[in-house]
């Protein structure tokens, strides 16, 4: 939960709902851009409340693909290896501009449903934003296996969640229905790609937009509330 100085004309935080997947390079970049957009509003920024929602980009991803990102994309999409490498270099460069140190050579492709379950567990315990950041870093920077319960429990503990409770939630699948509800909601909203941001339940923003786009949208909502 990100909070800024109270604005006298805004009585409740501006809600920012974000549909996102762990295995989404532009979701992490978009997260940084949103944060920069909020920071750019300075001391007069309205309070915002951020909530992440589950989105599974590629449900047919194997649980433990052992090859590299280049092999994964070349094999699955039939793209030339040179082209894949160029694209990864481009994304890595954009990520670096956003302050992110991507290492696609480490990325362990996997299904992300268990990670999403853990994010819902974290939300129920007030640590969703911290865990979202930790999981994205694990996936794109460290090459973490975000489908494995033991590793997920470790990430949960790192952000201050109870390890035993996190393990129990993952092993029981007690948050699986919340994950599917988020995915279904995205479908109902016509969201096919991520990241997708909804500002105050009113304005939709698709993609890793520049920071100023988020600043402007938040300012507009704050202005409308004050009018």
């Amino acid at each position: 939960m990100r909070s800024h100085a109270f604005h006298p004309t805004v009585t409740s935080p501006i809600k920012i709902d974000i549909w996102s997947d762990i295995a989404c390079p532009w979701c992490y970049i978009g997260k940084r851009h949103l944060e920069a957009g909020i920071d750019a509003l300075g001391a007069d920024a309205p309070d915002v409340e951020i909530e992440y929602h589950s989105f599974e980009l590629s449900p047919d991803t194997p649980l433990d693909f052992e090859g590299s990102t280049v092999e994964y994309l070349a094999d699955r999409k039939g793209m030339p290896v040179e082209r894949v490498e160029q694209m990864l270099q481009h994304v890595t460069g954009v990520a670096a501009n956003a302050g992110l140190d991507y290492h696609f050579e480490k990325v362990a492709h996997t299904k992300t449903l268990k990670a999403h379950e853990l994010l819902h567990f974290a939300k129920a315990n007030g640590k969703q934003l911290e865990l979202k950041e930790r999981l994205l870093k694990a996936y794109f920077v460290e090459g973490g296996r975000v489908n494995r319960i033991d590793e997920l429990v470790g990430y949960a503990a790192e952000v201050g969640l109870d390890a035993d409770e996190a393990r129990a939630a993952l092993e029981s699948g007690s948050f699986a229905s919340e994950v599917q509800a988020d995915i279904a909601q995205a479908g109902a909203y016509g969201i096919n790609g991520v990241p997708f941001f909804v500002i105050d339940g009113k304005y939709g923003i698709s993609g890793a937009q520049p920071a100023e786009v988020f600043s402007q949208a938040i300012s507009q909502v704050a202005g409308e509330r004050a009018a």
């Binding site: 990864l88 790609g193 993609g207 520049p210």
Partner: protein
């Protein structure tokens, strides 16, 4: 996972007809991920 999609029949990141939101245009070159690939919606 990443890159600019080239197939002309590719879906758009948001079905405008289904969306209850007022879409902020922003930067048309902002990247979106869908399935295994990421692309520029404006290039579709």
């Amino acid at each position: 996972m990443t890159g600019q999609r080239a197939d002309a029949a590719a879906p758009t990141p948001t079905d405008a007809a289904a969306s209850p939101f007022t879409m902020v245009t922003g930067d048309p070159s902002a990247m979106v991920c869908e399935g295994d690939v990421c692309f520029v919606p404006a290039a579709e």
